[in-house]
């Protein structure tokens, strides 16, 4: 399954669940694949990648500048290894694993993202306005 299809399936799932969700949100020279507001009113970002977890983590670290929590999302069959989990832990980025089959999506929070400590205020305000618009 392609990255785009996973992203779309995940986005539709989050939109149904949380209502306030957007795709391809531009901020700080990047675009977050998915941004949504969870049940705790936290602003959460997700970067979807099939393989390149290093790049995904780097992007997620950028999103931490305005998000409360930042995740990367990969296919369920990915082999998580110590390098990946160490890097995630180092940056406080979470990991979601997904499986899309028979038009159903299964999402598992493999590693919880840490709550970020600081924002870049003006970007946070701008993204919040986009989500709540």
């Amino acid at each position: 399954m392609s990255e785009q299809k996973i992203q779309k399936s995940l986005f539709l799932y989050l939109k149904r669940k949380y209502k306030r969700a957007k795709e391809e949100v531009p901020a700080l020279n990047r675009r977050a694949d998915i941004v949504y507001i969870n049940e705790k009113k936290e602003l959460v970002t997700i970067e979807v990648k099939l393989k390149n977890w290093k790049q995904a983590i780097r992007q997620a670290v950028d999103h931490q500048l305005y998000a409360d929590r930042a995740y990367i999302c990969m296919p369920q069959n990915i082999k998580t290894n110590k390098r990946l989990t160490d890097e995630l832990s180092k940056h406080g980025v979470g990991l979601l694993l997904v499986n899309v089959s028979n038009k159903r999506i299964y999402v598992k929070t493999e590693i919880e993202a840490e709550r970020t400590k600081y924002y870049w205020k003006q970007t946070r305000v701008r993204v919040e306005n986009l989500i709540y618009a």
């Binding site: 531009p26 901020a27 700080l28 020279n29 675009r31 701008r126």
Partner: protein, 455 residues
Amino acid sequence: MPDSFYHSARFTNHTEKLFFLGKFKNGYYDAVIMNGSIVAHSSKATSTFILKLKKHFIIDPMTHAFQHDIKYLKNDSGKVKQSLVSLSNAYGDPVKSLIEEEESVDATSFNKQNTKDFVEKVLRFQLELLPQIVNTGPFSDYINYALKDKRNDLSRDHIKPSLLIAPYLYIENVKDIDVNENFISSSEELIEQESFGKELATQLVISAEAFQSKDMRDKILAIYKETTTSRVFLWIDGFKEEEVSVDELEDLKSFVESLSTNGKKVVSLYGGYFSLLLTKARHGFVGVCHGMEHGESRSVVPVGGGVSRAMYYFPPFHKRLRRADTARIFKRNQFDEEKGSQDPNFAKKVCSCDYCKDIPTMFEETKKGYSTGNAKRQTLGHYLENKKQEYDYVKRSSLPKLLKLLNDAHQEFKETTFPEDIAHLQRWKNVMEEKKNLLEVKSKDTKVEIKKVVL
């Protein structure tokens, strides 16, 4: 005595006038290098700009432009950019006909018969076009009228370029070097015959692949070291000083050293802080040129154009950072972005310029996530202030001191940034320390004083 091209700036379009005139005119750069295409396409506006600028300048004839695949010369409408058409008209054949047929020029386009004529047109274009606009024809009446009013602050004194550049091809293979050698000899003959009264310089524009080959570098050096021109402007396609390896930096350093051992003055056409450090080498660059914010490296294609983004020039790293990386470093170091340079800690460790009093403006974004015009102007002002400080500080400081500062910056920020973002500091330091025969230009170490700039 510093070289007259020590701190040069590249003028590529008229929106940059704001930064060449006004507060940045005096004390920020020594010379201007103008794109030939803008001179050909907007000669009246360019001549007025030169009259106001009152600094010495040269025109890059951009003869390499016509070598590239025609798709790189076209605008969004699918037509060859008008500025390049104007330039090709000024140069005549073989360039003019080939561009009309939407074909590229190459080494085989030039022969004994057409080389002399082409060389003459290229040199006369540089020497005569702007003075002709100013001194003859209907536009000169307007200029004469404007010159009489002292409030306009215009002067004819620098209307001619300070030197001429021989036509050149972009070097990808040996044939290109041979053609360039013919261009240089033909230019030398012509300047002497016609008593142009101007120094001749050469421009070396080399493909990344050619430069990586030691054979090609040796062949280039064998020819260019022996030319009688006293000055060489060097541009290596897409060479990013903060990204290339130690080996590539070593190759650049030894190439410049070899090129300048016969007394040739070598200027980096698109250079950053590493090129500036190379001015401290015994046989290094004598000057470095940069564009407005995004001109410390450049690819030869596309020819002209390119969209600048508002990236923050981070002085301790001597490079531009993406906004996200800048924001992260600010936050992790607990710099208050609302205060910026009014925060003493920020002023000491990062920048004390007046533009940094307003960090939020530098980060302004449109709804689509692009930098606003204000953001671009603010980051560019900050960049130019820091460039001036860098050039001045390097000029008066010893190389060991400058290298120590690279190390200090690495130590200061290594915990709060990604390793790959500062690894270049160590690479630069290692390369500049390595050569045993490296002698620095004598200079006194002076106390670092970060001055607040008054708007």
